[in-house]
Symmetry: C2
Subunit: 190 residues, 2 copies
């Protein structure tokens, strides 16, 4: 998606440790007009798939998912990093390893919020190792929900997450796919 690639080129900053900072428009300060364009693009790509719920994970996926939901006319559910004392009988629970933050998170979705009647589009800001997306897939499997696909803003295509998730049979639509990235060479899109 040209609009997103242009913003990444103009405002993304490459940092030590394979970090792409896009906090000026995507995951700290958030440009909701851009999110709307992204949502309309996913709606075009997943047209006719019967999406009736969007599932994302806190925190940086929430804004993108909520704006995208306007193009799908459906509610959003976000998987919560577990801090509260919910009983296992009330929630689906899985573990996500964050490579960025170097920790494990227990994430959960209320059983009320997801079930076999749901046709789910997963949405997240980044796809790199695929840990978050695999966690969301696990939660959908527990709920018996159908995963229609995943809408990703930025995929680091040189990392294994995209391959892992696609090999599980999930359709992944990434709006910007980065082939390589370095402080010297800049960003090369696929």
């Amino acid at each position: 998606m040209q609009l997103l690639e242009e913003r990444i080129r103009a405002e993304g900053r490459i940092r030590e440790g394979d970090i792409l900072k896009v906090d000026r428009f995507l995951n700290h300060q958030m440009d909701v007009e851009l999110f709307d364009a992204m949502g309309r693009e996913w709606a075009r790509l997943f047209e006719g798939c019967g999406v009736n719920k969007i599932l994302t994970i806190e925190a940086s996926g929430i804004g993108i998912a909520c704006v995208a939901a306007f193009s799908f006319h459906c509610p959003v559910v976000f998987a919560k990093k577990s801090r509260s004392k919910n009983l296992d009988s009330e929630v689906y629970r899985t573990e996500v390893i964050s490579y960025t933050h170097g920790n494990h998170s227990d994430v959960m979705v209320s059983r009320d919020a997801l079930g076999p009647e749901d046709r789910v589009l997963l949405i997240d800001d980044f796809l790199a190792n695929g840990a978050a997306l695999c966690g969301l897939l696990d939660i959908c499997a527990q709920a018996g929900a159908t995963v229609v696909g995943a809408g990703i803003a930025i995929e680091k295509a040189y990392q294994p997450g995209g391959r892992i998730v696609r090999e599980r049979g999930v359709r992944v639509e990434s709006l910007a796919r980065i082939a390589s990235m370095s402080p010297e060479g800049g960003i090369v899109f696929c």
Copy 2:
């Protein structure tokens, strides 16, 4: 706001410990059409105030803030619970005590994202003790930004947060104000 009060009456659940669960439409599963109506109401209330940025705090404020931003035609910034190793020279930082989760969070906003040129509307899902809102006010003060006011979905008017923040001279517009609440008596709005 009648629409929000009706949803709270229909789908809110009162739990032990003064907890109002609204996770079916507000802060876990999220009804973005409702958020849009809330955003339009805040835009009406704060019309002519020159809001050019919305500031919220992760996680449950983000969805409401992003949808509301459409009615203000401005970007959103969310204060992050600090996990990363940003230098103090790069961020404004403050501490927020969560009564719900019983812990302290260090929250931060990038210095790039907020400054003296900003006229800020604060948005959050709940106002009870006012800890989160006071944290956001502190960050705005550090940035030299002007706080136009606060848009709150649900205010527990029997708790001190609303009074504390209004006594600091901040205009607070809560779309549903709860006068009292108990499993026996149900919810009484102001």
